[in-house]
């Protein structure tokens, strides 16, 4: 097997290591150090995809991040990833890739019919055409457009790869390892600054890898290699390749994506696929270089038309000829460098220069080599469909308006150079006010907003000597400010060729009677004619033109198209480019994997999992767990083949008949301490707290300032100045912040401290008619009789040598207690309760039974205290003190809150006493009323009442107070259910609350 387009020697690839790979099912080989693009070009493959809109054949246009065409679907180690640039993807053994946006194949694509219908697909076609009939949108237009659009397919499988996030701080972050990056990094590092140098490519050196220059008597590349190895040895320097700084955010925070494993056949064990770096830098040096821009001409999207700098890179870095009969079309001296490289490798290029009589060192060199140079010549159009076969060329008048006679030149590639565009994305993202530089016909950074400096070509400086000088000095100056060191650096001698002035020429006029497409944006298929239409139709703002035509909106973000688009708009509008302005640059600079952005926070790692100290016991006893906030709680304990419904009924029944035990460790617990603690609680809660004696608990409700119930729970006075507050599991964190807010900001004069003790205590609720008998056996030395420990009482006890807190409080509505011990003793306590409870037929119960018990008692919980209800709505108005002020009290006077027909909690029972009522269903008066049927209320919680053996629900119902006894309908369009129901009291069981006091 030979690679017909690979030169014999040269390039930076490792010719000793062959690598085989597959593209569109065909096997090829390349060498270590190749990209997928260079390896395909070495094999003479130019056709890689189809264009987005017209499905025209597309090849390679660039050699790096600017590539608009060669986006492929990659297959690696059983995974697939879309939107991979072949020009960036390094070759590895076994790589497989395929073309996107073509069907059935890249060689024969049915969608290419769009190309012949292109008269029907101008700018705004979709906006104009798919508007009507409206009903066609979802079923016909949208699926069609979705299928036709898109660059690749995302995998639907779980991504096995791992992605990491890393936080880093440094003195100087330097983005780009070209001459300016290396020089500034070196002088800053010598001054002892902490430096991170990031390079997006695998090789360091940027333009030095391909340019014919001499620094300090070495080739540019050798000089770069020397600097890099010196930097790598320095402890204060981090040098990273394959790392793209893609976003510049507030307060000098930058984000960089490091491709750790993409160049390997398989990610190494314990390694991530990508690592996202969040870097906070004191100073940022942007040395991102520049991207060559194309000259626009007819059929300039034909495979084989590419940037002249890319052709040079393929030759110098990869030893690959992009063609054997190259045509170089240029408006500046860069094209000559490419021509000279071709010539040196025995290929005869023809240079077409739009300038009439350019003079410079490099042009002289080209002439001396005998290269065929045609001045005042342009490419009018490329010929060939899947590959350039020839070019129509012509002379052009001095004013660039008139073409001479069209001639045809045989060629197999057209290398185009329209001068250089500084890569100002990062500077612009940082808030820099960019300005237009007439000298180079491009925008450059202007006034900095953050601590950012742009150097070298990115700043519009295209001579190496000046770049190195300013970069060494800038690195030194900025690091000196930080480290206060000032090491002398000698700036090396530079030998480089001087450029002559480029031609302000960017678009070849249409030949008479021709209608070639002249593309501006290669990825989104936006041609000159599309922008012309947009302007004709009245779009003026460049932001509007961009959105209407989609110019610069593709995944390459217009890296090769934006400026030419601006030139066109300014020409037609007869304005200067700076007054047209450029569109906003936004991060990311280049597409970043969603996986890298998400990092490790996937699946069960997307939030922390908190487990109670009794968790293992639950697991060992067939508990089925449920997420409760960040906690895992037993939902029920499964026996045999029991369903959730059967198990929760059994557990709840056992509480009502005998005794049950529930793990309530997850309840929020806050210690409130200090001489003013009582006064503080009195302001936070709606009811009175000043007279609560030591050893007593009280139920309290707290509001937000807007009168909405925030949370409820019991608080116990442990000692004179010490209260133990409990909150709901879900609101624990919010309540603590709320308390801290008032203590620190509103009432700093109160001498009170609050601290979370949720994790310090393990809790068990013991509930049921036999709970007192059990408790007495657990605490034989403590008087737990109704007199010794009355309802809402508190004592401390000794649980077989373990100190315990015993609260007589009840959520289930039964005679009940809650025992707390220090967390480490949680399992000991639990096992003692189970062991001794056996004689009382104790069973553990989970959250499902817990809900059943509280619902049929009419006790409110999170589903009623949902951030929309006031105390009255929950029948808690009895807890509102009339004598004192409290948080949110004034809001309760609002007219809607005191309305006669205010919503209120009620009970709901299906008339057939059989049909379960879905939570979230609506209550309506007439099930057959026309839609939208007026909603009177909603079902907040549903259960199967174990006491009455029929379904029972709680609802928040408009005018609930006067609705008891009414017959309404429950409607659940989601479950397609209509259930006739009766409204009853929310206190379905033990309405007088006798059991808790028994």
């Amino acid at each position: 097997m030979t690679q017909s387009y690979r030169i014999e020697t040269g390039g930076l690839i490792n010719r000793n290591k062959k690598i085989s790979f597959k593209f569109n099912g065909t096997s090829y080989f390349g060498y270590e150090g190749d990209t997928l693009a260079s390896a395909l070009l070495a094999n003479g493959v130019h056709l890689v995809g189809r264009s987005f809109k017209y499905h025209r054949p597309r090849g390679f246009f660039g050699a790096g991040v600017d590539e608009p065409y060669a986006v492929v679907q990659l297959y690696r180690n059983g995974e697939t990833e879309p939107n991979i640039k072949a020009t960036e993807q390094e070759l590895f053994e076994g790589l497989e890739a395929s073309s996107v946006n073509c069907w059935p194949s890249v060689n024969f694509d049915i969608g290419a019919i769009n190309n012949f219908l292109k008269i029907f697909l101008p700018a705004g076609f979709y906006y104009k055409t798919f508007m009507w009939p409206k009903s066609f949108w979802y079923k016909i237009y949208e699926p069609f457009i979705r299928k036709a659009a898109g660059l690749g397919v995302a995998s639907t499988k779980h991504d096995k790869e791992r992605y990491e996030h890393k936080y880093e701080y440094c003195d100087l972050l330097i983005a780009g390892s070209g001459p300016s990056g290396l020089a500034s990094a070196y002088s800053a590092a010598k001054n002892g600054a902490k430096v991170i140098l990031a390079e997006d490519k695998p090789r360091y050196g940027g333009s030095l890898l391909t340019s014919d220059v001499n620094i300090g008597n070495q080739s540019g590349k050798d000089w770069a290699d020397g600097i890099i190895s010196e930097l790598k040895e320095m402890p204060n320097v981090t040098v990273k390749n394959r790392s793209q700084v893609f976003g510049y955010y507030d307060h000098n925070m930058l984000v960089m994506s490091e491709k750790v494993s993409d160049h390997l056949p398989k990610t190494k064990k314990y390694h991530p696929n990508k690592r996202l770096w969040y870097i906070r830098a004191k100073e940022v040096l942007i040395s991102s270089g520049s991207i060559e821009r194309p000259i626009v001409f007819g059929n300039n999207d034909t495979p084989g038309v590419m940037l002249s700098s890319a052709a040079k890179e393929y030759l110098k870095v990869y030893g690959v000829l992009v063609g054997k009969k190259p045509l170089v079309f240029t408006n500046n001296d860069s094209g000559y460098e490419t021509a000279i490289e071709f010539k040196k490798h025995g290929v005869e290029p023809i240079v077409l220069d739009s300038r009439s009589n350019p003079q410079s060192e490099i042009i002289d060199e080209a002439k001396n080599l005998g290269i065929n140079i045609k001045n005042s010549y342009v490419v009018v159009a490329a010929q060939g469909y899947k590959k350039v076969k020839s070019a129509d060329v012509a002379t052009i008048s001095e004013d660039k308006k008139t073409l001479g006679k069209i001639e045809n030149i045989n060629c197999d590639c057209i290398c185009v150079s329209g001068f250089w565009t500084p890569t100002i994305h990062l500077a612009s993202q940082s808030g820099n006010k960019t300005k237009f530089n007439e000298e180079i016909d491009a925008f450059v950074p202007g006034v900095s907003k953050q601590n950012e400096t742009t150097l070298g070509a990115a700043n519009g400086v295209f001579t190496l000597e000046e770049t190195l000088k300013t970069s060494f000095e800038k690195g030194k100056e900025l690091s000196k400010k930080i480290t206060e060191k000032d090491n002398e650096i000698s700036i090396p001698n530079v030998v480089e060729k001087k450029y002559s002035k480029h031609d302000k020429f960017w678009c070849v006029p249409l030949a008479k009677g021709k209608s070639y497409k002249r593309f501006l944006d290669f990825q989104n298929d936006v041609a000159v004619s599309d922008v012309e239409i947009a302007l004709r139709e009245g779009y003026r703002s460049i932001e509007h033109v961009k959105r209407y035509t989609t110019l610069g909106m593709a995944t390459d973000q217009g890296k090769t198209s934006n400026l030419n688009g601006l030139q066109l708009v300014s020409e037609i509008e007869n304005k200067v480019v700076p007054s047209v302005g450029h569109t906003t640059f936004r991060p990311p600079y280049t597409p970043i994997s969603i996986g890298a952005i998400v990092g490790r926070e996937v699946g069960k790692h997307s939030k922390p999992t908190r487990k109670s100290p009794i968790h293992n016991w639950h697991e060992e006893h067939n508990a089925v767990f449920v997420d409760a906030g960040v906690w895992l709680r037993p939902r029920y304990y499964k026996r045999g083949n029991e369903t959730l419904f059967e198990a929760s009924k059994r557990e709840a029944k056992n509480v009502r008949r005998n005794v049950g035990v529930c793990d309530v460790t997850t309840l929020g617990k806050i210690d409130v301490k200090g001489p003013d603690a009582a006064e503080f609680l009195n302001r936070v809660y709606t009811n009175a707290w000043l007279k609560l004696p030591v050893g007593k608990a009280r139920y309290g409700v707290m509001l937000r300032e807007d009168g909405i119930v925030m949370d409820d729970g019991t608080t116990t006075r442990i000692s004179e100045n010490h209260y133990h507050m409990t909150t709901t599991t879900a609101q624990a964190a919010n309540v603590l912040s709320h308390l801290e807010y008032y203590l620190q900001l509103v009432w700093p004069e109160l001498n009170v401290n609050v601290v979370s003790t949720t994790e310090q205590w393990a809790g068990a609720a013991i509930a049921g008619p036999k709970s007192r008998d059990l408790l007495q056996k657990l605490f034989p030395k403590t008087d737990v009789s109704n007199e010794g420990l009355p309802f809402m009482g508190y004592v401390e006890g000794d649980l077989f040598g373990v100190k315990a807190r015993i609260f007589r409080i009840s959520f289930s509505g039964e005679l009940a207690y809650e025992v707390n011990v220090e967390s480490d003793n949680g399992r000991f306590m639990w096992e003692k309760i189970i062991e001794i409870g056996e004689e009382f037929q104790i069973q553990p119960y989970g959250t499902e039974a817990l809900s059943t018990l509280r619902i049929e008692m009419g006790h409110v919980a999170g589903s009623e205290l949902d951030g929309r209800t006031i105390p009255y709505d929950n029948a808690l108005e009895g807890l509102l003190s009339k004598k004192k002020d409290f948080i949110g009290k004034r809001s309760l006077q609002r007219s809607a809150f005191v309305a006669e027909d205010r919503q209120r909690i009620v009970g709901v029972v299906p008339l057939d006493k059989k049909t379960s009522i879905p939570e979230g269903s609506h209550l309506v008066k007439d099930a057959n009323a026309p839609l939208p049927n007026k909603k009177l209320g909603h079902i907040s919680a549903s259960c199967w009442s174990v006491e009455n053996d029929n379904p029972f629900s709680l609802a928040i119902l408009k005018d609930g107070k006067n609705m008891i006894g009414e017959k309404l309908f429950v409607m659940s369009p989601l479950k397609n259910k209509v259930i006739p129901v009766e409204i009853v009291s929310s206190h379905y069981v033990d309405p007088k609350g006798e059991r808790v006091r028994s």
């Binding site: 936080y167 955010y249 507030d250 307060h251 000098n252 925070m253 969040y278 906070r280 808030g431 907003k449 302001r683 300032e705 807007d706 912040s737 801290e740 807010y741 620190q744 900001l745 509103v746 700093p748 004192k884 002020d885 004034r890 809001s891 006077q893």
Partner: protein, 89 residues
């Protein structure tokens, strides 16, 4: 991501903090008669200034102190941070 100087802990990233709204709002004193308008102004009505704004943040994943931050809402520039009880300059 903002970089906020907690007056108790020093420079920290924004993700350690939670936002707490306008710091210039003063809660009416307890047990004091307030008109509907005054109460509405306290609970609901906020200006949304472009430019300098004194706001509350809590150093939630740090010292848990509520602090006051003087920030430009348009540019995100932070001019100064204060302890909860500190006099605003």
């Amino acid at each position: 991501m903002l970089h906020i100087k907690c007056p108790h802990c020093g420079m920290r990233s924004q993700n350690e903090f939670s936002y707490g709204g306008d710091a210039t709002v003063k809660r009416p004193e307890l047990n004091k008669e307030v008109t509907d308008q005054e109460w509405d102004n306290f609970v609901y009505n906020r200006v949304s200034p472009r430019g300098k704004h004194l706001e509350l943040w809590q150093h939630l994943s740090g010292c848990r102190q509520w602090i006051k931050v003087e920030r430009d809402t348009a540019t995100h520039e932070i001019f100064k941070t204060y302890k909860a009880n500190e006099e605003i300059a």
